[in-house]
């Protein structure tokens, strides 16, 4: 007869849900605050503007979430988006191909570039930060080279601007003309959320971020899965490229740098751990919305631009600190 020592108390598996709830509550508080502060805030047109402002960053943040959960990082999401947009311009405007080919082409280019990043990281063992930093610069340069440093316009492809600015929902419910770009974001979030939680690919995202060596020793082809995850993230960047090009009715080759940091910020506010192994698409979506609501609200309140930046930075730190506090409390 022996005794068991006091084992660590079994923790409830709700820590992730708690963080999401917290982030969601913050979002609601922000919405209420700005609604009270300015009568112009809570109008259909402004809410739609906020959602539209979220669409590109939201999609990029979804791509970044996948990679960050594996314990990696993707700095190339912004310029890959631009590169895909430019390639859509080349296919549609320069080569005059039909619209569906442009859409498929842009996403395919994203998948190819993501695969290249994945191979650099998984096979050539270049640390993700460096590999994607290199890709970020390569893609920025290529965008400028291919476009001849000039924006490519989509004036000859009439349906193109519909991808982002048209409204399928508005055709059914004329009072809420939610732009298609926003619709794409939400559908994508649902799909990737499902993939992450209910499919093998998603399972390996978490597993790789949690303990890559253990996954490898379990007989899983970790390299192949890692490449697949970066490829998926690349494809999502291709979708982002289509949304932004459609919204601007042009592929802007100089744009994209700095967007990766906004995406990472949204991911982190949403409670995904940069150390890998933990995170959710719902959290990321809330994070992206918090950023967009905050900026829009501060603008509506005519807060000076300098202070908008200060507040955004403070929110990022506060969100991550809150997560740390919660985790420390859970651990004690």
């Amino acid at each position: 007869m022996t005794t068991l020592p006091a084992a660590a108390p079994a923790r409830k598996a709700t820590s992730g849900a708690q963080q999401k709830l917290l982030a969601f509550a913050s979002l609601i508080v922000l919405l209420i605050f700005f609604s009270v502060a300015s009568p112009n805030f809570l109008q259909t047109s402004n809410i739609l503007a906020i959602l539209q402002a979220t669409s590109v960053n939201g999609v990029l943040a979804i791509a970044a979430t996948l990679v960050i959960i594996t314990g990696g990082i993707d700095l190339s999401v912004g310029t890959l988006m631009t590169f895909c947009a430019v390639m859509a311009g080349v296919i549609l405007t320069n080569a005059g191909m039909p619209l569906p080919l442009g859409v498929i082409g842009a996403i395919a280019i994203g998948v190819i570039c993501g695969t290249i990043s994945g191979v650099l990281i998984a096979k050539m063992k270049i640390p993700p930060f460096i590999a994607t930093l290199g890709m970020m610069l390569i893609l920025k340069g290529l965008s400028l080279v291919i476009s001849g440093t000039k924006p490519i316009y989509f004036n000859d492809t009439p349906g193109f601007s519909e991808i982002s600015t048209g409204s399928l929902i508005g055709q059914v419910f004329p009072s809420v003309p939610v732009p298609n770009g926003v619709l794409i974001l939400f559908v994508l979030a649902l799909v990737i959320g499902y993939v992450l939680n209910r499919t093998v690919l998603g399972r390996y995202c978490f597993a790789l971020g949690s303990n890559e060596e253990a996954v490898r020793l379990s007989g899983v082809n970790t390299d192949a899965w890692k490449i697949a995850i970066y490829a998926l993230a690349g494809g999502i960047c291709g979708i982002a490229g289509l949304i932004i090009a459609s919204r601007l009715n042009s592929a802007q080759p100089a744009l994209g740098l700095g967007y990766e940091l906004d995406a990472i910020a949204a991911v982190v506010i949403g409670g995904t751990s940069l150390a890998g192994g933990r995170g959710s698409i719902l959290g990321t979506m809330i994070g992206a919305l918090i950023m967009a609501v905050l900026l829009n609200g501060l603008r509506i309140m005519s807060v000076a631009q300098e202070w908008q930046t200060v507040v955004t930075g403070g929110i990022i730190i506060a969100a991550v600190y809150a997560d740390m506090l919660r985790r420390r409390r859970a651990a004690s």
Partner: protein, 506 residues
């Protein structure tokens, strides 16, 4: 009867190292076969060859009489070979069931997962093992012992007939070890062959049928566990006979008290702990895992905050609010996890020895005096008999025993005369252990006050002049050292629980 596994003439070379030289091993169904040897003897390497993690450069692998190749972990699983690694290979953020079936998730169409079946399958394995673990619990929320069970369940889920366990009890306490042994015996009775790698002699005697010893990558011999004296096995391992000296307790009647701790408290981890250590004394700390010994050490050292209690060094109360204060007062702490807290593994011996004393080796503008650093490092290499090619050798390339000596050198250089050793010989092989013991006894003889925390009772008994026993944060008694004190007495004190319900285990 055909052997489950027969390895013959296995060769493996790594750059600069001949890791396996004509190594051999065999395993029968329904036996526990211990594989022993000093660190670096090639035990883990051999088992990694068997489980497909390393590819051999030569030799033959037979499983159930068939010659096979094991190109990867997946192939090993197919052959019914399961391995539980020394450092637990679990994904902490996933649930228990997700861990067990990683790579073999029950799927539906389009790569969708069947989570319900996953959990049910995991529950079935635990039922078979007769342990209660929630398949949905996230692994990081489990105790180390439970995590070990998850590893075993994972290995069993392949229907493994061959189960390799690499130091499975390294992080387990007595009770948990017993639980593990019960499971091993059950598996054995079902015909599973178990390869058991361990340094702990008493465990080998308790659980294994045969013992194979390896040395320097080569096979030494195989003996029956039951009728072979431990001394024989040890001499097979080290290639020489080791003296076993009983502890000599010096007369410390006149020695002044070096460190006194009064009423140390912190939450439930440390409850009113008071004791004193004299100069020249070795005070052992025994207790089960989670008894609060490390917590006490860390609180004294200022690494964790404390809620109350006085620390008196050489008769003077000192304020210890951070490790910096403790070091200033002459207290050194040698963490149980050398690799994480004790050493900068990527740096050389010279840099590690001087790590906490760099201020002494710099001039006015902060440039380091390399000549003095070298002289100091060489002095300690000689004094502590650290086996290293030079003082420029990276610490990570040294053996555990030599790493430990470097940590000791570091604190000696810092003029610490109160040294707290937390599990000083964890992961250190038998030969080096004796050397570390001699070193500690020598330090005590020089007048240092030494506290030793150890989970291995033989170690506590061999070293301690007095033995403090803890249970659940309380100091439950201090016993005299020497042959007068038995392991049973210590265990009795280590399980004196206060107002707690005794949880019986199967």
């Amino acid at each position: 009867m055909t052997d489950l596994v027969r390895l013959t003439g296995i060769e493996k070379r790594f750059p600069g190292v001949h890791a396996l030289r004509q190594a051999q091993f065999d395993l029968r169904a329904g036996e526990v076969h211990a594989l022993m040897g000093e660190n670096g003897a090639g035990k883990s390497t051999l088992m990694k060859v068997l489980s497909g993690i390393y590819q051999p450069d030569g030799g033959r692998i037979e499983v159930s009489g068939q010659t096979v190749t094991v190109p990867g972990p997946r192939a090993a699983q197919t052959l019914g070979i399961g391995i539980i690694h020394q450092e637990l290979a679990l994904m902490n953020d996933l649930t228990v069931a997700q861990n067990i079936f990683i790579g073999r998730e029950p799927r539906r169409s389009f790569g969708r997962l069947d989570e319900a079946r996953l959990n049910a399958d995991a529950a079935a394995i635990f039922a078979q093992m007769k342990v209660t673990i929630d398949p949905r619990a996230e692994v990081h929320s489990l105790s180390v012992a439970k995590q070990q069970m998850v590893e075993i369940a994972k290995a069993l889920s392949f229907n493994s007939r061959i189960l390799i366990m690499d130091e499975p009890t390294a992080a387990l306490n007595e009770a948990e070890t017993n639980e593990l042994f019960a499971i091993i015996r059950r598996l054995k009775s079902e015909g599973v062959g178990v390869v058991y790698i361990s340094h702990k002699m008493d465990e080998i005697r308790r659980i294994s049928d045969r013992v194979t010893v390896m040395r320097d990558g080569a096979y030494v011999g195989t003996v029956q566990a039951a009728d072979t004296p431990i001394e024989t096995i040890i001499s097979m391992m080290v290639g020489r006979d080791l003296e076993t000296l009983p502890v000599e307790i010096p007369d410390l009647g006149a020695a002044p008290v070096a460190l006194e701790v009064r009423g140390l408290r912190r939450g439930r981890a440390i409850r009113d702990v008071s004791f004193a250590v004299k100069r020249g004394e070795i005070l052992g700390f025994a207790g089960l895992m989670g008894a609060g010994r490390t917590e006490v050490a860390r609180a004294i050292f200022g690494a964790d905050p404390r809620e109350g209690g006085d620390i008196i060094v050489h008769g003077r109360p000192v304020m210890v609010r951070s490790p910096r204060d403790a070091v200033a007062a002459g207290i050194g702490y040698l963490s149980e996890d050398r690799k994480h807290f004790g050493l900068a593994l990527g740096l050389d011996v010279r840099a590690n020895v001087a790590m906490t004393s760099l201020a002494r080796f710099r001039n006015a503008i902060g440039v380091l005096n390399e000549a003095a650093l070298e002289a100091t490092a060489r002095r300690y290499i000689a004094q502590l008999a650290i086996r290293t090619p030079s003082d420029r050798q990276e610490v990570r390339l040294l053996s555990g025993g030599n790493q430990q000596k470097i940590v000791i050198a570091k604190w000696l250089l810092r003029d610490c005369d109160i040294l707290i050793f937390d599990e000083p010989t964890r992961g250190i092989d038998v030969g080096a252990k004796a050397e570390i013991y001699r070193l500690m006894q020598g330090l005590a003889a020089e007048g240092k006050a030494i506290i030793v925390i150890s989970s291995e009772l033989p170690e506590v008994l061999r070293l301690s002049h007095r033995i403090a026993v803890m249970c659940e944060g309380r100091l439950t008694g201090i016993l005299p050292g020497g042959p007068g004190t038995s392991q049973e007495e210590i265990m009795r004190l280590a399980t004196v629980r206060q107002g707690a319900v005794e949880e019986a285990i199967a």
